[in-house]
Amino acid sequence: MKKHIERLRGMHDHLPGMYQQQRWVIDRLSAFLAHAGYAPVDPPILERSELFQSSFGQELWQNLYTFRLHHRDLCLRPEFTASICRLYLDHYQQHSLPLRFQYAGPVFRYEAPGRGRYRQHTQFGVELFGGQAISADAEILHLACEALNELRINSYRLELGHIGVVSGFINRLQLDDHAARLLLSLMEQISRSEEGERLAQTRLEVLYPANSSAGSEMNSNSMGTISGGNAQLLASLLSSISITFGNDDARHEVVERFLWKMERSEQRRRILNALEFLRALHAISGPPPDIFGALRDLLARYELDTEPLTELEQLVAVLNQSATTSQQIVLNLALGRGVSYYTGLVFEIHALDEDGFDTQLCGGGRYDNLLRAVGGTRDVNACGFALGVERLLPFIPKSDLPKLAKIQAIVIPVNIQNMPYALRVARTAREAGLVVEVDVTGHSVGAGLKLATKKETRWALIVGEDEQQTNRVTLHDLVTGEELILDIHSLANQISAEEKLL
């Protein structure tokens, strides 16, 4: 007994209707962005895992479709941006900037399938390398909104953020890279939900535990005091004293690490400080321009650079030039995005579907360090956005979406000897722009007519021995039942004239 081989979960077959609609969306977007100078490129779906691991800044990434072939770690792309950066490094390093690319194709993420979340989905996006950051950001943001307007998707919400504010704050805390990265990833969690905020807090408590905190926090200014926590650490040092180290380097490293660990309670204070700041930042979000005042106050209170705010103000002004109103914009400086490579502007475009569920349609931002992370020798300014094609479809007005082309005529050969002539008739009719199918069932003319009626085809072109001799066809109108004998060349005219009458 042969087992039925099932389709993989979270993967979908695109059937003709859906396929055509997606194709239409991609063609539409592609043409629109080509007009803005974005050249289409198509990198391979399969890349070395390293590419995405280094772009995400980690070696273990849970949602990747990775596998090993001939001792090589390979990965189905989870997104395009890293691939396009690699493509730039491979082919365009000698070209002058700015450079503009657009792409469309499938991406793969191994995550729990759900509403609007597929393991394979289609992304359309653009990347802009080089240029002045503020100008390039303005273009990208403008195009992201205009791309949606092009598809007549109007009721969306644009969330605008800027990594610069939080990274400025974190830099001032002089945390190590690892801790800084952790905070940025937690920012994402905090801005998503209250649940996420609790999880972030718990995670920090685990990583930076308060070892007998009451004592150590109070004493944190008087350096050198051996607090309860440090004493505990020293105890573990003493109990391990019988250990033999391989060499002096190893001993030195462990001592250095140990001392570094002792500073952790001081780091805890700074980390908790940062968490508090992230919460305050998240609490102030809303539409411009009013929100700018509150944000300025907050940044002033923390004595932070307000440059990112100025940039955001300029961007809002740009957006007001296009169809995006201030009410559609939400400023959220705690916006983090899922991947860690963003350095400046970040944005997301959301919309509510007919059941009131929030769907993210678009995401993007600036990632000035990514090219170096994937192997470039210098930093190149870069920004871009990507749209989820499957997610766009439900928001496009139904009447705009193309319908499947109907078969206008079916050619029915009387018997197999008439097949060559039938194919010739079909070709002539197609050249005249008609959608024509040939009846290949090999049944009788009567059965062919039944088939045509079932398919709701208007015309049947019957070709037998007589027609073949005289270069004619019998045109059968399946609506009226009338029959006409026509010259093969006047066929197309006749049909289109009749179709117009309908």
Partner: protein
Amino acid sequence: MNSTTVIRLALPGKGTLESATLAFLSECGMKVNRNNPRQYLASVSSMPDLEVVFQRAADVPLLIQDGDATLGITGYDILAEYRGTTEAETEADDHDNDIMVLEQDLGYGNCRLVVAVPETWIDISTCADLWHLAGYYFAHKKRGLRIATKYPTLTGQFLRQHGITHCKIISPHGALEAAPLTETADLIVDLTETGTTLRENHLKLLEDGIVLRSQACLIGNSRLLRENAQALSLATTMLELIEARLQARNRSLLTAHLQVETPEEMQHIFMNISQRLSSLVSGLELHAAHTEEQNTTNTYRYTISGVTNVGVSATEFLEIVAVLRAAGALQINITPLTYRFANESMSVHTLNKRLKRKH
């Protein structure tokens, strides 16, 4: 379906699990007849429809998944790595998976999959410390931690759960304990029973570094069990016997005979014994039954019985015996329990429920 097909049971044919599995099945009344240890096929005389195949424990999950065997016994660690999850019931995620766990803990083959680091790492005692160390390595050595393990999937999951993403997992074929010494890896994730081998190789466990606790487990192909009534009936029989045996393990049946003048006196003695024994052993439920009619000497004979979970050690029994003697028991019998059947087998009940749910 042909009603006389042979149902296959795959057993580990090598290593420590082999002898323990054969001993366990024999205890459950399913003694495997294997003429010589080099043979790969064997039978169980009490179950003529069953064919036993011996395979490496690591290959048993694949055999079940492919339907080449309907039932199998392997280490839970091996199964978890094969399926890529530490959870027993995972039907929800991947419906390609036909393996189901019928009994997760068969009570032998205990081991733990643990994170072990060099004992010189005095700064590392928890997974949180390891997270910090991954950052330290990345900043100072420009590389992530290297972790040697034969369980790359479970290890990757465990590390991700702890947010440790700057690391590389390698899977050498040889002994893992040597990896940190030879500097081919920084730490290891390996199986251990007692931790002795790790300590001997100058490694230490993390406080919260247990990836998985494992025992031998009974697994089956859910599709075959659903489609083949004969297979299901065999699985049911096995589960009944295994559960009854597991319930009987480390339990003894205690009986004592007493002779008293009046039923009231018996009541008093019984209360007294119950109270004193309950402080000695937990989970002992005593019953008293009147066994003989009043005889010529004007006395009543009673039997007290109960199942204890006291171990096999005779010294522990002596305390109980002393209590019973003091109460006037004439004869005290203690026998190890062989099987203990409840009014319904929980495992069988759960199996039927899960088979229904899957379709």
